[in-house]
Symmetry: C2
Subunit: 418 residues, 2 copies
């Protein structure tokens, strides 16, 4: 049973969500644009709060990577502002009638899109998530219950205060954003158990956070998990195109979940392709590890350690496997993949269709880079994360994925017979 103070946070968010659920598109856009304007106006205060966070984090010995993610710069603040303006310009998903039908007894059943209610985001380091998550939640009619990490507490608190003020400015409750102003792990665990108040929890962070959510959450969860993405180069691949795509998928940006981590090559083209692609990847600074068959074809490939084929490197490192046929490729990808994005490069339509059907992942890419699994690339305008689970949402999550539906039954006095 969560503490009374934690329950109170949930209660406040739920109460605001009732009002927000019936807010007009104009009210929601007013709040988003007011938030964008106010972030600009209060720029110096926000940067000062972030400066304090950075100083404390440095004193605590935070590593350069997380420290960079914690940093708020003028241009990052500008991105947050533009993000809110972009979301204001997106179509309102709420109120859409998804389908409907008439039953033989005359009842008309209508299914309409409605907000989830209270969406909780637990996130790490990056203070921009505070405004990005708020913006998407608000536009989809959801109150946001936000819990950031301790290192970003001053930044998040300052940003949340601005966003709450913007809601009030637009005539909406400040509690459309409830900020958990206590970064302890114990409080986070209690938040994850607010089943009466939270309709959906989306953790945004590393494996330790995901595991904690799996272990402690009793509220419905959408997991934004690892991407151990494969590129399979088929017997019928255009090998010049394949070379460009593999290099792009691996090296264009390495720290993201849709970067390729593993290369799988059909043996009939491996003799020719593996040495070429290995050279190109090594030229781009990539460290290669592979199975025995791959290593026989290129001295650039080191032996893969145990677990390497299942690992999301998130760095300039890639595993390489040679497979005898399409069946083995599909089996390999289904065994080691994490259900994120898997690509096949081939001119063989039947092979492409089999791979698309039999590989189990949120996104199957045919003859393009894995890097396209992304809300912006999908045209969603904004993204709250990329789901690697199958329940509710799969792949990039935009506004639509932050909604649910409700049935309305229009009757004329119908009662149920025996």
């Amino acid at each position: 049973m969560p503490d009374l103070q934690v329950i109170e946070l949930g209660r406040r968010a739920k109460a605001a969500s009732r009002i927000l659920a019936t807010a007009t598109t104009e009210q929601k856009n007013d709040a988003l644009l007011a938030a964008a304007a106010l972030l600009g106006e209060r720029r110096s205060g926000l940067l000062a709060a972030n400066h304090d966070d950075l100083r404390a984090a440095e004193a605590d010995g935070l590593e350069p990577g997380p420290l960079d993610r914690l940093r708020l710069t003028g241009s990052r603040l500008e991105s947050m502002i533009e993000g809110l303006q972009t979301v204001a310009a997106l179509a309102d998903p709420i109120g859409e009638v998804l389908d409907g039908w008439r039953r033989p007894n005359g009842l008309v059943i209508e299914r309409g899109r409605v907000p989830l209610g209270v969406v909780c985001i637990i996130y790490e380091n990056r203070p921009n998530v505070t405004s990005d998550a708020f913006g998407l939640c608000l536009k989809a009619g959801n109150a946001a219950l936000l819990r950031g990490s301790g290192s970003a507490l001053r930044s998040n608190r300052a940003i949340a205060a601005v966003l709450r003020a913007a809601c009030e400015h637009a005539g909406l409750p400040a509690d459309c954003l409830v900020f958990v102003d206590d970064p302890s792990h114990d409080t986070a665990k209690q938040v994850m158990r607010l089943t009466e108040y939270i309709d959906c929890l989306i953790p945004r962070g590393g494996p330790a956070l995901i595991q904690s959510v799996r272990d402690h959450a009793t509220v419905p969860v959408i997991i934004d998990g690892d991407g151990n993405c494969h590129v399979y180069v088929d017997a019928a691949a255009d090998l010049e195109e394949a070379l460009r795509i593999v290099v792009n998928a691996k090296t264009q940006r390495t720290s993201v979940c849709n970067a390729a981590e593993s290369l799988v090559v059909h043996q009939s083209v491996a003799d020719h392709f593996v040495p070429i692609v290995a050279n190109a990847l090594v030229e781009h600074g990539v460290e290669l590890v592979g199975d025995a068959a791959a290593r026989r074809l290129s001295a650039q490939i080191q032996p893969a350690a145990a677990g390497d084929f299942g690992r999301e490197f998130l760095s300039l490192k890639m595993s390489v496997a040679v497979v005898p046929d399409l069946d083995a490729a599909i089996e390999h990808v289904n065994l080691y993949g994490t259900g994120h994005t898997e690509a096949i490069l081939t001119r063989d339509l039947a092979a492409a269709r089999r791979f698309a059907r039999e590989v189990d992942a949120a996104a199957i890419v045919v003859n393009a880079s894995t890097r396209f699994t992304d809300g912006a690339e999908f045209g969603f305008g904004a993204e709250i994360g990329i789901s690697t689970q199958k329940l509710h949402a799969r792949g990039p999550m935009g506004l639509r994925e932050l909604t649910t539906y409700k049935y309305t039954l229009w009757g004329e006095g119908q009662v149920k017979g025996s």
Copy 2:
């Protein structure tokens, strides 16, 4: 970490789900119809196994209610057979293209309906769930991992053996149904943690089971929860029609989640309506409890005990409240409701639309009985349960709700720019 034997159950179901995901409609229907035929052929063996369960349960002192739910009769077996035939006749949801679009860079993004993978059902007493759940899961292309209660072990084991044989008969893996042949609570808790193998867990049972799932499950869950359903009689209700609907919603069948548990009456019609409806309900054997305002209007209404307005009675008992206006009615329903089904009876269109929009529930019923929130009444043909959560599925769940989607990106060599 689950035991190796439990992991092996998940592994078997997952392996079968890969094959089932690409099975043809014909293969799936063959398996369903073979299962229906085989249940008929092995009728005497199934009834004998159930007889042993019943004898053991009686010796253990199982109560008459659960004992009745455990009982397999000729007609109940016939219903199971008809259920499988019905599901075979339903349209196959798999393969539907939900939407798709072309991006400015030429990528074509397609979203198609696919199976969830492995669906786990944990259920109590009723052995018919074994075949009902199997049928829906199989038609939607999912392997079913089924765990029934200890009291029904012999019945469920015998039914599962028949269904598995039918899968093999149709050329599908027997493991399209994996039966957990160990009814211990510890094993159930381990099953709930098979995150590598289970894509969706649906508990079917009472509050203790739901609580155990909330506390122990790490796999994605759909909660089929309580229905504390209200009927609100508005100032503008047709009171003759209201009388018929209230009596039907409360008394037509009391043990089901879509039966009404609470009556809320607008004060402007309460003087006239409460005495009449109270008499009619009492004539139908209903015990009434209410607030002070309701009790002033009918001596048939006893004082409500603490918690009565939040209680799902599932019996001939009903709570009654009088409210000053529509706002208070909506607030009352949102406070005590469980997000299942809430009805308004009114001739006032604006009141109906406000109630439909502002009350937070899977189904809002206007001028009809709450008893219509049901897969059969919705025209789904069959139902795996009624979701009271908002993630993934809400309200009655048919075949469509046992599926997810997958993106396929069709490219022509696209790589991501900087």
